[in-house]
Amino acid sequence: MSTILVRCRAGMRSSHISNLLIADVTRQINLIGQHIKQNGGERVAIYLPNSIEFVAALFACAYYDLTTILVPFDKPIETIIDLLHKSRTDTVIAAVGSFPFDVITKSYPSLQQLIWVVDEGSKHMDWNEVPTGTGGAVNVSTWQDIISDHEPTAGTELPAVDRNTEPKNILAFWPSGELVEFTPANIVAGIGGQITSVPTTQRITHADLFLPADSLTTVYPLVLTLAALYSNASVALNSVAGRSPDLVFATQGIAPTIIVTSSSILARTHSETAAKLNSSLYRLIHWFQTRSLVQHGVMPLATVLSRLYDSLRPVIGTTPGKLRLVFVSEQVGADSTPLSAEVLSDLRIYLGSRIIYALTTAKVAGAVTQTGIYDYRVDDGTEKYSHFGVPVTSVEINLRDTTEHKTSDQISAGEVSEQSSKSDRLLTLRRSLPQDLPSWAARQGLELWERSRRIILWP
């Protein structure tokens, strides 16, 4: 396999290859969309690791008027069946070997269609054949057959878009198992919010290589990836993303400039690196670099002394120093690892990149609030969570008084209220939080920094 790849590389210019690829993905979008539509599919569950097929399936659903259901990858079989029941799926696109066919057809009889995505290594096997005595009514095909059964010219043009019809909704599961339905308008508001909430000079551009190092079935990385695609950045897809607990492994072979990752991975990177970098000379250098971040408000420059320790820092990608921005999120109501402001400040030094720490909730596509890209401040050290910055441009926050916490002229406090979204195209926080908030705020106390004092949202 690798020889073919090397030959390809020698034979084509990279820009040429990429153009081919985009056209090829367009063809996949069309053919898969048509196939599902012709076979009567309506609610399509995508059960894939991060891959080009994932992206193609997502857009196929958008173009061919299908409801998309993002099923978290690599979950126990009982969970998957439960999620399929909850989402009333009729079509599943799954990676071969990840999806036990007989068990699922038995316990989920409403399944009508199954599309296997077969990897190179097991292409020769006959995946279309349904084992005798199982399946029955399920229409099984493979992604690769659907593509290769058509003429190379078929499906190269995207269908004409009827502006009056909106694509169907996208359903995603929060780690707590809650099923959330996003309208297309929610998703684009999220994408728009993510793009415009970063200063113009730091936005994602076509020069960036964006790597989602977290599963795309989580809405936050998905929205950021779509924002990167919309900004014409190059996007790298790695199937270990979200499963590998190690940032270095997840970024192997490429040199990303922007990554989105989970807080547990970053926390692990931090503890491992901190354990390696514990000499007293390094502590002194680290103190100076932290001072540069916190006191002077600039990213520390590499010096002769700090370069001594480059080998002990995490190696992100093939060209160290390329990474410029890391997105990481805290998931409200899920079991995610807290990152304190000190940890984030250390990680800025270890990774040499800016970090945006975002607060995400189940019902908001993208972030609710995120720290400013230039905000390197460290809190007083008593807080478990770093401060989250301002709402993104597609969200506004409004607090309602509770019996214990009332807004006064000095402080804004209360719970996030439920009504108000001015237009239903925007998910504001208030639509999202009543049920999550007690456990969430009791656990952490969300803080927004406003006029150098904290606003604490309490249940």
Binding site: I17, A185, I191, G193, H206, Y230, N232, V298, S394, K422
Partner: protein, 146 residues
């Protein structure tokens, strides 16, 4: 005047190697400060006042907090600001939907005048670890291109 002259002469008469060292050190420190000082990435005032609270609030509610990039009085950012060919560049774009995201991937970047710049992004599939696929991006798409 004579006294002043004597004072100055006395001062410089005491100049020795240590004075040179101290003066040299002072100048070095000052020069280093000037050369190495950098402006903060964001003005501290901007960091201290990140959210923008609405000027009035309802009884029993907090003000509405928004980002400075989406000030009160204008609608929140609701989409991708898609401009179809032929739309005025001053008009507000459509919110768009996912289909417009892929359309943008195909057409590539557009400049302010709405002309295509040909900046098309790439999608790379990274297969396996570095042992199987060597550290090069350009060949990765071949899997799909062959």
């Amino acid at each position: 005047m004579l006294k002043f002259d004597e004072a100055v002469t006395g001062l410089f008469g005491q100049w020795d190697i240590y004075t040179t060292l101290i003066a040299g050190l002072l100048i070095t420190v000052f020069a280093y400060q000037v050369i190495s000082s950098r402006d903060p990435d964001a003005h501290p005032m901007l960091l201290a006042r990140q959210a923008h609270a609405s000027p009035v609030r309802q009884e029993g509610e907090s003000p509405v907090f928004r980002s400075h990039s989406a000030p009160h009085g204008i609608p929140l950012n609701s989409g991708l600001n898609v401009k179809d060919p032929g739309d005025s560049k001053w008009s507000r774009g459509r919110d768009g939907d996912l289909r417009d995201v892929w359309r943008k991937v195909i057409t590539g970047g557009v400049d302010q005048e709405g002309k295509e710049t040909g900046e098309v992004g790439r999608i790379l599939t990274v297969l396996g670890t570095e042992n199987i696929i060597v550290h090069d991006l350009s060949k990765v798409p071949c899997r799909n291109a062959e």
